[in-house]
């Protein structure tokens, strides 16, 4: 009888719907391909540029208090950014596994850099901690394989900026779902951020990274050093900010790039195709591009490098171009 029970158990286990082979090895270094959102991921966003964001009124109001002097304060220069800010930064990433004695993956680690904590994705089935448990710069992440896709959930993050250098806030209530898919040597990362405080709907971003054994990991220094960047603020207790309604860059995108104000301010309706039809007749493209016109980072690793091209790949236009652009 014991024999039959053993056979029955073995038979059941053999044919369970376990996707035993439906996984890929994430171990390795990945280069960031900066072929979309180059300005944001390279030199940094324009102030007052919240295009592509579904901001709540509270999120928009908080973003408009931001000045680029805030991260220049000594106490904020090394403040860790969101665990998934890697979607907005110019750096690649290195991923490695932590395994048990039997070679089973307990966790995937995405190496941090001087502004981002290591990100640990637990694969051993442990539950997420209570929302009241500690929130950390790297948050708490668990992962599971769904076919050839690694799906990750991240909670327990700190209040952090969602995007780089422009003040778009994400609250500590944020929850992330991330999907990793591998195709040949391309790693596609889809992040879906839900934040009931600063977003009106999930914020979705997809990026491509390319496996590159020659790439040395995150590419950044591992220690963040501070320096006194704003001597005039030293020991004054002043926190740089704009008061509500006084941000001089609030209309920069409209003033200088003709971007409709509601799009620049991150209203969710501007993310969908029907919005384009509402601005036909009112939108006109600027007469010329004046900065970061052909920037892209490739191989040289230099911001704004665009080998051989003669267009403006930096933040300042030559005087002639500038004057041309202001003629309206």
């Amino acid at each position: 009888m014991r024999f039959f029970r053993g056979v029955a158990l073995a038979g059941a286990l053999c044919f369970m719907n376990v996707p035993a082979f439906a996984q890929f090895d994430l171990n390795g270094s990945y280069t960031n391909r900066m072929f979309e959102d180059y300005i944001e991921r390279g030199p940094g966003s324009d102030l007052g540029d919240y295009t592509g964001m579904p901001l709540s009124d509270e999120g928009r109001a908080k973003a408009l208090l931001y000045t680029s002097n805030i991260p220049s304060e000594i106490e904020r220069q090394c403040l860790a950014q969101s665990p998934w800010v890697l979607q907005y930064r110019p750096l690649g990433m290195r991923i490695w596994s932590e395994e048990d004695d039997n070679g089973r993956v307990l966790a995937w680690i995405i190496g941090g850099d001087y502004l981002r904590d290591n990100l640990t994705i637990w694969m051993d089935g442990r539950p997420h901690p209570s929302p009241n448990a500690q929130h950390s710069p790297g948050g708490f992440s668990t992962g599971k394989w769904e076919g050839d896709t690694l799906t990750v959930k991240t909670t327990n993050v700190k209040t952090q900026w969602i995007r780089r250098g422009v003040g778009i806030p994400g609250s500590d209530q944020s929850k992330f779902t991330i999907h990793f898919s591998m195709h040949d040597d391309l790693l596609t990362v889809l992040t879906i951020q839900e934040d009931s405080i600063y977003l009106t709907e999930p914020h979705v971003v997809s990026r491509v990274f390319q496996k590159d054994a020659r790439f040395g990991g995150a590419g950044g220094r591992v220690i963040c050093n501070t320096a006194n960047e704003l001597p005039r603020l030293e020991d004054t207790g002043i926190v740089p900010h704009y008061l509500p309604g006084q941000n001089p860059e609030a209309d920069h995108m409209t003033r200088d790039l003709n971007v409709p104000h509601e799009a620049a301010m991150g209203f969710a309706k501007t993310l969908y195709p029907e919005y384009r039809k509402t601005i036909k007749g009112s939108y006109a493209a600027p007469t010329a591009c004046t900065r970061y016109c052909c920037g892209w980072i490739e191989r040289q690793g230099l911001p704004g490098a665009a080998p051989g091209l003669t267009c403006i790949d930096g933040g300042q236009a030559p005087p002639a171009k500038r004057s041309q652009a202001t003629e309206k």
Partner: protein
């Protein structure tokens, strides 16, 4: 004892019965119909999808200024052509759909309707520019001297998770398509060119969230030895919609 024997038999046989359904073929009954790409699909791409323009908004939702083309690893020759972009001239020459060829279309502010045209052909229709792409499974060779078109000729194959190994494993996977025979067009509305030599490769994944939301993610590689210094790699995402009520066909517009 008999009941226990029946239970044992059920435990052993049931998974066979269940897994046989995965390939849509019966065992021991009527002759099984041969699997087709449609019945063998490891992922369901059909339905209505809307692009979420949360990236490159200024270059995708609206037409940027002439000469504004960051992010694209274009060549100097491409730059010169793009700086001479003249949408009125394009329209007059019957080239008003240049920005709606496959590599430009997919990054546009569009809704998609994906359906099976037949058992071996998946059809994609866009409301943006009213374009139709056909993805042909199998080894269909391109007809000799086939005219170049905005959407070119696309071959397709399923990529089954784990290479299809693992008996009884839940089937999942993605689609890979390769598009050639393209009529020269624009990667962006403001005249960034791609040539007739372009090979456009796409990987199609669907992710389902806990609340039932579905996202289609298309990983793109535009390889154009004429106008690109390196392959242009991006990912774009779409959200599934319940029906086609928001699908609003609009013809090509070179100027807006």
């Amino acid at each position: 004892m008999v009941r226990k024997g029946l239970l044992l038999a059920a435990v052993i046989v049931l998974p066979f019965v269940l897994s046989s359904g995965m390939s849509a073929q019966g065992r021991g009954g009527a002759p099984a119909a041969p699997a087709t790409p449609r019945t063998a699909a490891p992922v369901d791409l059909t339905g209505y999808w809307v692009a979420i323009i949360s990236e490159d908004w200024r270059w995708r939702m609206i037409t940027p200024a002439r000469g504004d083309f960051p992010s694209i690893p274009m060549t100097l020759e491409a730059q010169k052509l793009a700086e001479a972009w003249d949408p009125a001239k394009d329209e007059a020459a019957g080239e008003g759909c240049r920005a709606y060829g496959a590599p430009g279309l997919m990054r546009g502010p569009t809704r998609l309707h994906i359906s099976w045209q037949d058992d071996t052909t998946l059809k994609l229709e866009s409301d943006y520019g009213m374009q139709t792409r056909l993805f042909k499974f199998g080894n269909a060779a391109a007809p000799a001297n086939a005219p170049r078109t905005w959407q070119g000729l696309s071959t397709a194959q399923w990529i089954v998770a784990g290479g299809g190994r693992g008996r009884g494993a839940q089937r999942s996977g993605s689609m890979k398509t390769v598009t050639t025979n393209l009529r020269p067009g624009y990667l962006r509305k403001n005249g960034v060119p791609y040539s007739a030599n372009t090979v456009y490769t796409e990987y199609w994944d669907v992710n389902t969230e806990d609340n039932g939301d579905k996202y289609l993610v298309v990983t793109n590689v535009v390889n154009d030895p004429t106008y690109l210094q390196a392959p242009w790699m991006t990912a774009i995402h779409f959200k599934k919609e319940p029906d086609g009520t928001k699908f609003d066909p609009t013809p090509c517009d070179a100027k807006f």
